[in-house]
Structures are given as C-alpha cells and as structure tokens.
Symmetry: C2
Subunit: 139 residues, 2 copies
C-alpha cells in the first residue's frame, strides 16, 4: 500500500499554477486534459520527491470552491523556511502565519487550501522581517 | 523540499482509528497528546511507506466537522483492491464507489474525508460482488 496524492479542486488553473508551482516551488509531474469531460488534472510534487503528489482537478465549468473544517492542510518540509516564505511573498501570496519561530509558516491557496511549511531539521534563528510580521486571518 | 503529510480534523478518535487504521490498513507512526492544549495528534502511514503520512488532529472539545468542495480526496494504491475494499466492508464502512472496474474505489472517513483506492499496476478482472454493487452517495 502506498500514498499517491491528495486531490484538491481548483477554480482557476493559471492562478493555481502560480501558487503551487511558481510560489510554493512544486514541479508539474504530469498533466491530463479531458475535453470530453471538460476537466484538466495536473499532478505536482516537490522536486526530488516526485512520488508523493498533489493532484489539481480543474473542472472547466466550476468557478468557485468552498472549504470545510474536516480538511486541515498539506504540509511540506523546506530546506530554508525564510527563502521559501520570501518566494511566496514575492509571488503575492499572503503569509497567514509567518515563520516567526524560524520553523513553521502557513499560507492558503487561491481556493483556500491551507499549506504548512516546516523547516527541515532544527529551527533557523529568529530573524526579521519575520519576527515582527503579524498573523493574517486563519489557516 | 519534501511532502510530509495531509492533516485532517477528526471528531471521534476511536471511530477515526477504526477507519484509517483498522479498515483502511494504515499504521500509526507517531502519537502526540497535548493535554494543556486539549488536543491529540496521530500520524499514520501506509505500511512500508512511512514518510508520506496523514495527520489526524483531534481537538478534544470539537465534536463535528463540515466538509468543503476545495478538498477532494486522499489517494492510496493497494496491491489487491478487492481485498482492501472487503476489509473496509468488514469494518462497516460504506463503499461509496465500489471497484466495479477492478481498479478504483472510493470511501469516506467518519468526518466525510473522501479516500480513493487504486489498484497497483493493471486493473484486476471484474468480479462479483463488486460488478453488481451500486454507488452510494457522492465521494
């Protein structure tokens, strides 16, 4: 038995690739377009860890998705949480929970999926601008 | 960068272990009880694939969780989809989408989290009782 992926529905494919690929840093592993079913599937994974994937399902005729409390978040470890969070900021992503502790950050996808980033190994020394950065919303 | 886990919130820990561990077949990798915060975290993973985990968060004072459409499902491959689905049935889990094709099945956790099972490699030959089993609800 093996974990394959977590599937999330995305209302806007370009915005979602901007988040998951460009800002978060995942790589597109595989894409399937099904015009007859009017949907597109895109599988992404962390570089160097291509087997554990996130599947984006884009139904061409659905344009908004609600969230629920039963799902919590997707979590990834990163080699440098400050660099990872800065890249998210540079792509216009709001940092819901900045890594004030040098260890943990949360952001949300365009569809409200919460994503946790955790520093690999030990926390980094606390540093600005993160230490002074307030929380925004929930995650 | 590396995928760590998908976190889901669970209202009833015993019921959730009955689903994720006993019926689905995941193994408990790690458990953290935090009485001061009144929550428990349990990390499970497929046997032999312990790095890609599902994290169950049980907040002791929360007793029901709603779902949303932005989250789709968790997916696992299994060596024998009929055996895996039979084990779910034996534990009282409703099969939302039986593996009529010898390839794909869906069930829901006690909190409504959809879980997809996919046959490893090629589909198995279609077989009863699966071929005649209708869908139940959505997934």
């Amino acid at each position: 038995m093996k974990y394959l992926h977590t599937m999330v529905r995305v209302a806007d494919l370009a915005q979602s690739l901007g988040f998951y690929r460009d800002a978060l840093g995942l790589e597109v592993v595989h894409q399937i377009n099904v015009p007859a079913g009017r949907y597109t599937l895109i599988y992404l994974a962390a570089p160097g860890d291509r087997e554990a994937q996130v599947e984006l399902t884009h139904n061409w005729d659905e344009h908004a998705y609600s969230g629920g409390r039963n799902f919590g978040h997707l979590a990834y470890s990163v080699p440098d949480i400050y660099a990872a969070t800065q890249r998210l900021l540079d792509h216009g992503v709001t940092i819901s929970r900045p890594p004030r502790d040098g260890y943990m950050a949360f952001v949300r996808s365009p569809d409200g999926i919460s994503v946790e980033l955790l520093q690999e190994g030990r926390p980094l020394p606390p540093a600005e601008p993160w230490v002074s950065m307030p929380n925004v919303g929930s995650w």
